[in-house]
């Protein structure tokens, strides 16, 4: 099964599963996400263990968190997850133009989310909640920062994919890459669901 010739001139039903390399890539990425779950799980447990070590004189979670910005960021990320689903659907229907469009939209929403988060951090630092202020701030910035870094990595990754598909077109080699990037993006959104629940909402209620 030579790698990059279309099977019957037309993209197979699920192009990402058409080749062994494709199946390996998708399964490998699923397992990688299992590992990432443990990585974020450990970061969450570190945060849970240290979240009430605010240190006297420093702003606590309740005073600090602005739920309105977090709500907007959540809506943005959730929408970007939807646009990435439409992108994968467009890929399955071999509509390259539509797929590229949805992917670009996903990237833009991702950038918006990231911009909001950086602005939020900027505000927190101004209110005295710096990285080395307390155990609470260190674990908060590491957890939410790691998620932000993953979003940034996803944005760079998807924009590279857009360029690659534009140059090389959609085939059984590039299809698994787009599918895997879509899964990555959903995973980021799933992690964000827990972050806004555990860090922000529970932080506010405590």
């Amino acid at each position: 099964m030579s790698a990059h010739s279309h099977l019957d001139g037309q993209l197979p039903h699920e192009p990402e599963r058409a080749t062994l390399e494709g199946r390996n890539k998708v399964l490998g990425f699923w397992l990688f996400l299992g590992g990432e779950t443990v990585l974020f799980g450990t970061l969450f447990s570190a945060f849970l263990a240290l979240r009430d070590q605010v240190g006297d004189g420093n702003p606590s979670g309740q005073e600090l968190f602005k739920l309105m910005t977090v709500a907007i960021a959540t809506v943005i990320l959730l929408t970007s997850s939807l646009t990435s689903v439409f992108a994968i659907q467009a890929m399955h229907r071999n509509q390259v133009k539509a797929m590229q469009g949805w992917l670009i939209l996903t990237v833009l929403l991702g950038l918006a989310f990231l911009g909001l988060e950086i602005y939020e951090f900027y505000e927190y630092v101004h209110e005295g909640h710096k990285f080395s202020t307390s155990a609470f701030s260190s674990s908060f910035y590491t957890l939410v920062g790691f998620h932000g870094a993953h979003v940034l990595f996803g944005i760079v990754w998807i924009s590279l994919l857009i360029a690659q598909v534009a140059r090389k077109g959609l085939n059984v080699v590039t299809a698994p890459k787009v599918y895997v990037a879509g899964m990555y993006w959903h995973f980021i959104d799933v992690v964000w669901v827990f972050i806004f629940t555990v860090v922000y909402l529970m932080g506010k209620v405590a």
Binding site: L20, L27, V38, T42, A46, A49, L50, A135
Partner: protein, 629 residues
């Protein structure tokens, strides 16, 4: 070669630097792992020389703490894990009838990141700042206030880079075993070594991220003044112990399960008998892997978690003795009724069984929390874990190396020298570590650079040192055996032990680049043995002869790991007190760290954009190599 664009084939050193062939990477892992094993062994000898008599001043207290830290870290992360990966790389694809692992490029990346991580860790000796807070690196001893020099930074960054390699390797083997088994090889027909590789990779996948987070938190504490473990800033030192041991205990099962797999293969082959109770062995391996995540706090009985946690983890730890017991009895009953041939490999395997049982039972004794209040951090614990790691894993690896050496190199290791290696190593091992049980019971604490006279420790420490030297002699004999064997011609046939049961003995030794001319059809457990018993010559093919697609070699994994290596230095020496001038601005601005990461990331981009279409080996090339279908 009717292929669109020619593919560069390298020779000599470049071939090794760019290889993505799982067999060559296996050999690279073996060489690097063996080299670090010798360094670790040297550190062990220096430790033993310092302890052979009370109040000895062979090494200073600082150097001793550095020796124990580097001995532990090197042996576990840079010697044992890589040699396990050498075995898994060399044998697992052959056992499941695959042409290579799922991601050859990532396999090479796994090796090179481990190699550069190990290099960075051992460069600390040259840089004069060696980690000295123990291989567990507890805080606050490892915090910037009590470990002021760069030592622990080398530990953190070296292990982080090596950890990436191991995690990536784990995923690679999981996908290989799930997706690329030969037709007919269902999960319950897989050889035992492949099963143990499968469970080990799953443990790696779920344990190493915890280590990654722990090391990141420690790195942030040390280099960016975070407060994860800084008591003054609200941090908590017991948090590090939790995170470390959540990784730590699955790690020791990652070490021992492959040895279980090797022992099952070697004992079955040399007893000419099918493995006794295969399905219960598989179930026991899965259960050990599962329970491995439930028991980590038995390393922390004395930390003060409270009676509820201590009771819970005592019972969970004792439960692990049940599946291990199942395995021990299954090995003994595999030999029951067999006709056992004591080759060097089988000597190690048969020697493994009683030794590991002694290690296992002391483990159960340690599991009883109130008793552990006396044992913990004493030489009783040192004796226990050396019994299970050296008596278990290292004997298992020696058995595996002697058993699969012909398949990896085409030559058989000398049986005479092999047996000599066994007896010197085996006797030296028991001499060294059996007495340490009693040292522990007499109250000699762990990690002490010296001890007072008149406490009754002197003679036993002397015996232990003599034993350590005997183990050193055994290792040297093994190296001589390797050198002598490498001079011999490659005469080993497909099945040099004549009783081969699994697929790797159905192909030439050393295996050709593409492993199988045609992917074999597996018709039962012990695939080759079934064909032999049915009177067929070799494996019946599952597909016609056709062009074989091979991945093309690439230098990128080497360069990516080099990038991480440079980034490691960049992070470490950013806040170093350079005199003003070029170096200061270079490092202080994190330019070096950034450059390193840039190299790695740009390699990833190149890898993503430039698709590797590999090359093809055409059918006529297969036949003219005299390889029959």
């Amino acid at each position: 070669m009717a292929h669109a664009h020619p593919v560069k084939r390298y020779t000599g050193l470049m071939d090794w630097l760019t290889t993505v062939d799982h067999k060559k990477i296996g050999i690279l892992y073996l060489i690097a792992g063996g080299f670090f094993f010798l360094i670790g062994g040297l550190e062990a000898l220096l430790i033993r020389v310092q302890l052979w008599k009370p109040l000895n001043n062979f090494v200073s207290a600082d150097t001793y703490n550095e020796l124990i830290t580097m001995h532990g870290t090197t042996m576990i992360f840079l010697a044992a894990m890589p040699i396990i990966f050498a075995m898994m790389n060399a044998i697992v694809p052959l056992q499941i009838g695959a042409r290579d692992v799922a991601f050859p490029f990532v396999n090479a990346l796994g090796f090179w990141t481990f190699f550069f991580g190990g290099l960075l860790l051992n460069i600390s000796w040259i840089a004069g700042a060696v980690p000295d807070a123990g291989w567990t690196s507890y805080l606050p001893l490892a915090s910037p206030t009590y470990s002021t020099d760069k030592g622990v930074d080398y530990y953190v960054l070296g292990l982080q880079i090596a950890g990436i390699g191991t995690l990536v390797g784990g995923i690679n083997f999981l996908v290989t075993i799930i997706n690329m088994r030969a037709p007919g090889m269902s999960f319950m027909r897989m050889p035992m070594f492949t099963w143990s590789a499968f469970i080990t990779s799953a443990l790696i996948l779920f344990a190493f991220p915890a280590l990654t987070v722990g090391l990141v938190a420690l790195m942030f504490d040390r280099l960016f003044s975070a407060n994860f473990f800084e008591v003054s800033g609200g941090g908590n030192t017991v948090l590090w112990e939790h995170i470390f041991w959540i990784f730590g205990h699955p790690e020791v099962y990652i070490l021992i399960l492959p040895a279980f797999g090797i022992i099952s293969e070697v004992i079955a082959t040399f007893s000419r008998k099918r493995l006794f109770g295969y399905s219960s062995m598989v179930f026991a391996t899965v259960l050990i892997g599962f329970l491995g995540f439930m028991v980590w706090a038995h390393h922390m009985f004395t930390v003060g978690l409270g009676p509820v946690a201590n009771a819970l983890f005592s019972i969970a730890t004792m439960l692990i003795a049940v599946p291990t017991g199942i395995k021990i009895f299954n090995w003994i009953f595999t030999m029951w009724g067999g006709s056992i041939k004591f080759t060097a490999a089988n000597l190690f395997a048969v020697g493994f069984v009683p030794t590991f049982v002694m290690g296992g039972v002391t483990g159960v004794m340690l599991a009883a929390a109130p008793a552990d209040f006396q044992y913990h951090d004493s030489y009783f614990v040192v004796a226990h874990f050396h019994y299970v790691i050296v008596g278990g894993l290292v004997l298992g690896l020696f058995a595996g190396l002697h058993y699969w050496w012909p398949k990896m190199f085409g030559r058989m290791l000398g049986e005479g020298l092999g047996k000599l290696t066994f007896w010197t190593f085996f006797i030296g091992f028991h001499l060294t570590f059996f007495v340490q049980h009693f040292l522990g019971l007499l109250g000699m604490p762990r990690r002490v650079y010296t001890y007072l006279d008149g406490l009754g420790f002197n003679n036993m420490n002397l015996i232990s040192t003599i034993g350590a030297f005997l183990m050193g002699v055994g290792t040297i004999i093994f190296i001589i055996n390797i050198i002598v064997t490498s001079a011999k011609p490659k005469t080993a046939g497909n099945d040099p032990w004549e009783d081969g049961r699994t697929l790797e003995w159905a192909i030439p030794s050393p295996a050709p680049e593409y492993n199988f001319v045609q992917t074999p059809l597996v018709r039962g457990y012990d695939a080759l043995w079934k064909e032999k018993m049915d009177g067929n010559e070799g494996m019946s093919p599952a597909e016609p002869i056709g062009p074989i697609h091979m991945p093309s070699p690439s230098i990128l994994p080497f360069v990516m790991s080099l990038g991480l290596f440079i980034a490691g230095f960049g992070f470490m020496y950013a806040n170093n007190d350079w005199q003003a001038g070029f170096f200061k601005d270079l490092f202080a601005s994190h330019a070096v760290a950034g450059a390193g990461l840039l190299i790695t990331l740009s390699c990833m981009v190149i890898r993503s954009l430039k698709d590797d279409h590999g090359f093809h080996i055409e059918p006529e090339e297969l036949t003219n190599k005299g390889v029959k279908a």
